[in-house]
């Protein structure tokens, strides 16, 4: 765990010293803010509906931001050759992967935390519960963790950051769009595919402020699966 945190701290330092971290946070806040203004201020709506719309927008920006934050994690190290520092040190691949995941996730959490002024405005001026806000944010963070783990796998597999971004998107988008496929097939396959979709059925309860443990378990499982795949891909690299 010490070395996981060591890697995570170094990565966080790299995010904060490079323009990437600031750009991603700024872009997230800008898009969320525009959406919030458009949905919340332009017409009369129920506070809970505005909050739901905010979390809907936040889920989209979070997924995209995750890919941008994760693309550099391993691919950049491979491009610059610094991966050798890690791969020849007494640190396990699982510690490297967890450290890198943790750093990107913490950056994402920071960006998400900065956006809290928008739901707080609704809380102060409208009628929503703090529980709705907390559950919504829990959903955004769980979705972000899953998307980051997917982006990380893309970064482990790729040799350049651009390819890592494309690979991450190629893994993420079909998972998001599974609900569309589910609509086109018959039961019971549609239920199965819908349950696998990264966003639609699994994220909506969080948007509405409803905490369902099976949805939490789903996101934890997706995150675990892609982190495990990343570790295995790192290990396999030594055989090549």
């Amino acid at each position: 765990m010490t070395k996981t945190w060591l890697v995570a701290r170094r990565e966080l330092g790299a995010y904060l010293r490079s323009p990437l971290g600031a750009l991603v946070i700024a872009a997230m806040l800008l898009i969320d803010g525009i959406w919030f203004y458009w949905q919340g201020m332009s017409e009369k709506r129920l506070s809970a509906e505005v909050l739901q719309e905010f979390f809907y927008a936040a889920s989209g920006t979070t997924m995209v931001a995750s890919l941008f934050l994760a693309m550099r994690l391993v691919a950049e190290e491979r491009q610059t050759g610094t991966i050798t520092l890690l791969s020849t040190a007494p640190i396990r691949d699982v510690e490297i992967v967890l450290g890198k995941f943790l750093s990107a996730f913490l950056m994402l959490a920071l960006a998400t935390a900065v956006s809290a002024y928008m739901p707080l405005l609704i809380l102060v001026n409208g009628k929503v519960s703090a529980g709705h806000i907390l559950v919504g944010y829990l959903g955004v963070l769980l979705l972000g963790a899953a998307a980051t783990s997917i982006g990380l796998l893309g970064s482990v597999l790729a040799r350049s950051q651009v390819v890592a971004l494309v690979l991450g998107a190629l893994l993420l988008v079909p998972l998001v769009l599974l609900w569309l496929v589910a609509r086109a097939v018959d039961p019971p396959l549609n239920g199965f595919l819908s349950g696998l979709a990264l966003h639609h059925e699994n994220f909506r309860p969080f948007m509405q402020g409803i905490l369902e443990l099976d949805r939490v378990a789903y996101y934890v499982a997706v995150t675990f699966f892609f982190l495990l795949a990343s570790v295995k891909a790192m290990e396999a690299r030594r055989w090549r």
Binding site: L6, G13, I83, S87, T88, R238
Partner: protein, 348 residues
């Protein structure tokens, strides 16, 4: 310190290394000399536990690199051909990170980082961002990160690559200073460099160690002799005087720009410098210069590679090797590096 037995590394069906066997003792400075694509980097990466061997046994400090990679990595400091440096960090931050990564206790961290900075003479740039450093300093920091945890084995892959002549001399001193406390394995395709820096040379070609020994041992074994260059003045028959020295086997006049001076390349069975000077002085011939000919090891190496080339025709035909200029010395490193070369080493 290092025991390699029948090591093989295959990339698909292509054999990059093997069969390769070698032993290196504690405290030795050993050079791994070979052309690009000969298998140097692959061998070093396997030693550093960055790559797994396809077959064979590799032990470092008695530990198997496949069975106990975690413990082996703690014994090794590795500088790959491109120094693994995070550009946004300062030198001190990077060394602290590398030390913690290699289990240096937090109480000793400052002292170990300080020692590495002093040994590599990077104290003056310790608080500068790595992105602002020159290539020479980056190479030094690369070595610093490899020794900050006081490893028993230091593995340096082409440490002088891209350095200017002054930096090469400094790097040579640095590598030599590591001997004794550390076992050092240096790879290079620069013949002169290996000869100047290392106690012993392992010549690798086509993924195999084709010869091992000191420069003189290799030269003697292949009958290449010891070569020196002597510059003399005056009008006396210096060539006759040189020819009379017992160990001298061959004398070849060389062009020299200096007016009134003549230069000869002398090949002898053993180092003839002392005898040559005595004979010339006794004959009243002014001695203007005397030194080892840089191409001595080159001759040995060329013969070894040429001998290897005759043996396994199948794989050699498939290697994308182009002929390299014969006289690669420290001074023409940059040109050698810039030339389109041979087979790519292991993919990263």
């Amino acid at each position: 310190m290092i025991e390699i037995q029948d090591l093989y590394k295959l990339y698909g069906t292509r054999r990059a290394v093997g069969p390769l066997s070698a032993t290196i003792e504690q405290g030795e400075i050993v050079g791994l000399l070979g052309l690009n694509g000969a298998g140097k980097t692959t061998t070093l990466r396997i030693l550093a536990c960055d790559l797994l061997p396809s077959a064979g046994t590799v032990k470092v400090g008695g530990l198997d690199v496949v069975e106990e990679p975690h413990r082996v990595r703690a014994l090794i400091g590795y500088l790959p051909d491109t120094p693994p440096l995070y550009a946004e960090m300062t030198v001190r931050e990077l060394l602290g990170f590398a030390a913690r990564l290699r289990d240096v206790p937090s109480g000793e961290l400052g002292r170990r980082v300080g020692e590495a900075l002093e040994l590599t003479r990077t104290v003056e740039v310790a608080d500068q961002a790595i992105s602002s450093l020159s290539h020479g300093f980056r190479q030094r920091v690369g070595i610093a990160q490899a020794i900050v945890h006081r490893p028993r084995l230091v593995v340096l892959d082409e440490p002088i690559s891209g350095l200017d002549p002054v930096q090469i001399v400094e790097m040579r001193e640095l590598v030599r200073s590591l001997g004794g406390e550390h076992t050092v394995l240096v790879s290079s395709h620069i013949l002169h460099e290996i000869s100047e820096t290392c106690d012993r040379i392992l010549v690798i070609d086509d993924g195999k160690i084709v010869e091992s020994g000191t420069e003189q041992e290799l030269a003697a074994r292949l009958g290449a002799g010891v070569r020196v260059e002597v510059t003399v003045g005056g009008s006396a028959d210096a060539e006759a005087v040189l020819r009379a020295v017992a160990a001298v086997r061959e004398i070849e006049p060389i062009d020299v720009a200096e007016p009134g001076a003549r230069r000869f390349r002398v090949t002898a069975d053993a180092d003839p410098r002392d005898a040559l000077v005595r004979a010339l002085v006794a004959a009243g011939v002014p001695v203007l210069g005397l030194g080892r000919a840089e191409s001595e090891l080159e001759t040995v190496f060329t013969r070894l590679v040429a001998a290897g080339a005759e043996a396994p025709p199948a794989r050699r035909a498939s290697r994308k090797r182009r002929p390299r200029p014969a006289a690669e010395s420290a001074g023409d490193t940059a040109a050698a590096d810039a030339a389109p070369v041979i087979d790519e080493e292991a993919p990263r």
